[in-house]
């Protein structure tokens, strides 16, 4: 190949590559190495402890507590987020007045575009002791609820805020998928006079099934999420009720005792756990396809 001589062309990607290498790719690799070391604070030297961190992790009650809170958080928020996103994406794609479709997709995407901490601050105002939600409750004669102060309720409050914030992003993907359903397919359905419901189940949904497949796999990945929402809305409280595992690892390292090695081990454990779960999801779905 004639072009192979031009290896100087490499310079075009050099600026981008150097940023990505130093601040993005290297930290991911170093994170794995850190998990096998004891690193405290901002010293340059750590000590190899090999599997000590993992041994400690398996007997650390707070890790399992964090994992179960993470799982609950995903369970409360992820399915509703996806169902809501799927239905709204599909209905917007069905609208015949295109201007209206444009308006709805802006409105539903606003919670995503608003900085997460601003969104959570807004929810904090709603959840206040004399916030709007409690005002409504009092109108129905109910006593106020400690949305963010009652340990039994805080995780649900967090899940609601998280659904509000995240469903627009998923809606966007569904909407793009539905927009891309070939015109011929849509028209053939109309010729058959298929009802709205039937069109959804037998034409539109199957045509995005690859996307649905990805969504199911991502449900496992959702376990690693929520750090920003928790930090901005609840700070892990009350009484550790919303301390998801990623928050716990940040709490004992960056914001606390700076046990970097141990925190990295927790995150590595979470990543491996997530990948294993994703693998199971893929296997199960393949079996069902056959």
């Amino acid at each position: 190949m004639r072009e192979k001589r031009y290896n100087i062309n490499f310079v075009y990607i050099l600026p981008a590559l150097s940023f990505i290498l130093i601040f993005n790719l290297w930290p991911i690799i170093w994170g794995v190495v850190l998990a096998f070391m004891d690193f405290r604070g901002i010293t340059l030297t750590g000590r190899w402890v090999w599997f000590e961190n993992f041994k400690e992790l398996f007997s650390d009650e707070r890790v399992w507590q964090g994992l179960s809170i993470s799982a609950k958080y995903v369970l409360y928020s992820y399915p509703i987020t996806q169902i809501l996103a799927l239905i709204s994406g599909w209905t917007i794609a069905q609208l015949r007045i295109l201007k209206l479709g444009k308006l709805y997709r802006i409105l539903l995407y606003l919670p995503v575009i608003i900085p997460v901490s601003a969104g959570m601050t807004m929810f904090r105002a709603l959840y206040e002791q004399n916030g709007y939600l409690n005002i409504i409750l009092s109108k129905f004669g109910s006593s106020p609820i400690g949305w963010l102060t009652d340990p039994k309720i805080a995780l649900y409050s967090l899940a609601i805020a998280s659904i509000w914030r995240n469903f627009g992003a998923s809606m966007f993907y569904y909407l793009v998928g539905f927009y891309n359903v070939p015109q011929e397919v849509k028209e053939s359905a109309l010729i058959d006079g298929a009802s709205l419901w039937k069109r959804f189940w037998s034409i539109d949904l199957p045509s995005i099934k690859n996307m649905l497949f990805i969504i199911f796999i991502q449900s496992a990945g959702a376990l690693t999420g929520g750090l920003a929402e928790v930090t901005a809305l609840t700070g892990g409280g009350p009484a550790r009720a919303t301390t998801i595992l990623p928050y716990y690892s940040a709490e004992i390292s960056i914001w606390g005792e700076q046990r970097l090695g141990y925190a990295a081990a927790i995150n590595l454990f979470l990543s491996i756990f997530t990948l294993a779960l994703a693998y199971i999801v893929i296997r199960v779905m393949k079996v069902e396809k056959e």
């Binding site: 990607i13 608003i114 793009v176 999420g225």
Partner: protein, 290 residues
């Protein structure tokens, strides 16, 4: 013959009406927290804490906004400035690096080009938790932790993979005839990029710029972990940390104030998003097709 007219007009009207009702309800839920925040930001303390508060403020009262810019307890002005600095640096780096890099990955050849590109693409799917501990450590060692420039470098590295992907797609969509003509005239690859390609890729660059602005302006978790000096706090950080640390006597005053602050944080993001709305969807439609 268009047989789908067989589907009765009344039927279509009824379907569309149902869809519109559904989407309107969802939209109201989606924007209600924003609406409530706007209203609260114009309320006086007495209005917020009255026994029967109303949704709408009695009058447009700017006392919260004035407090925001005059208070010395929390330096909101500094935070706004910090956010602007971080956003501008991030956008500048990302636009420059992704214009060069996107060109490098699409129109010129060098060894291992596609392998490098595929690695960068995969970085997008690595969860934030996998790198953040190591990132914190690396930023500390490089003495970039309490620096706005440092934060901007980190943010640029995190948003660069998707920006590179987008710019590569943009360059690939430009017809090769133009390039060939310039090559015959003896233009170097850099001249090609500067005189032929970049003017044609303007739309893509705007999308990359707005995208990276939204990311940098809205970033919460990286700013919250990397910045510890209150004088370096960006807006998304200051609106969440200011509330618990505010003295109790001032907290009453800050209820409406933090709504105002959340709104100021959200507003630029909303404006920029609505500005590129159409391009956003068209870009995604094309991108997901390919």
């Amino acid at each position: 013959m268009k047989r789908y007219l067989l589907l009765k007009r009344g039927e279509i009207f009824r379907q569309q009406f149902t869809i519109i009702i559904f989407l309107t309800i969802i939209s109201i839920i989606a924007i209600f927290p924003i609406f409530w925040t706007i209203c609260s930001s114009f309320k006086t303390i007495q209005e917020i804490y009255s026994i029967s508060p109303s949704i709408l403020p009695k009058s447009l009262n700017f006392v919260n906004y004035r407090f925001l810019f005059e208070t010395s307890v929390i330096d909101y002005k500094m935070a706004i400035l910090n956010s602007i600095v971080v956003s501008i640096i991030t956008v500048a780096i990302v636009v420059l690096c992704s214009a060069l890099g996107g060109y490098g990955f699409s129109r010129v050849y060098f060894k291992y080009r596609d392998q490098v590109f595929n690695t960068i693409i995969m970085l997008q799917f690595v969860p934030l938790t996998a790198g953040i501990i190591a990132q914190w450590q690396i930023m500390s060692i490089l003495r970039l932790r309490d620096s706005l420039i440092g934060l901007a470098l980190l943010l640029a590295a995190m948003i660069l993979p998707s920006s590179l992907m987008l710019m590569r797609q943009v360059f690939l969509s430009i017809p090769t005839e133009l390039e060939d003509a310039a090559k015959i005239d003896g233009a170097s690859t850099f001249q090609l990029l500067w005189h032929v390609m970049l003017p044609l890729a303007g739309g893509g660059l705007i999308l990359v710029a707005v995208n990276s602005f939204l990311f940098a302006w809205g970033d919460f978790i990286y700013a919250r972990t990397m910045l510890t000096l209150p004088s370096k706090y960006t807006l998304p950080v200051i609106i969440t940390v200011s509330i618990p640390t505010t003295p109790a006597t001032l907290r009453v005053a800050t209820y409406g104030v933090y709504n105002a602050a959340a709104l100021i944080t959200a507003l630029p993001a909303i404006i920029f998003f609505i500005g590129i709305q159409n391009r956003f969807y068209e870009g995604a439609r094309e991108g997901l097709k390919g």
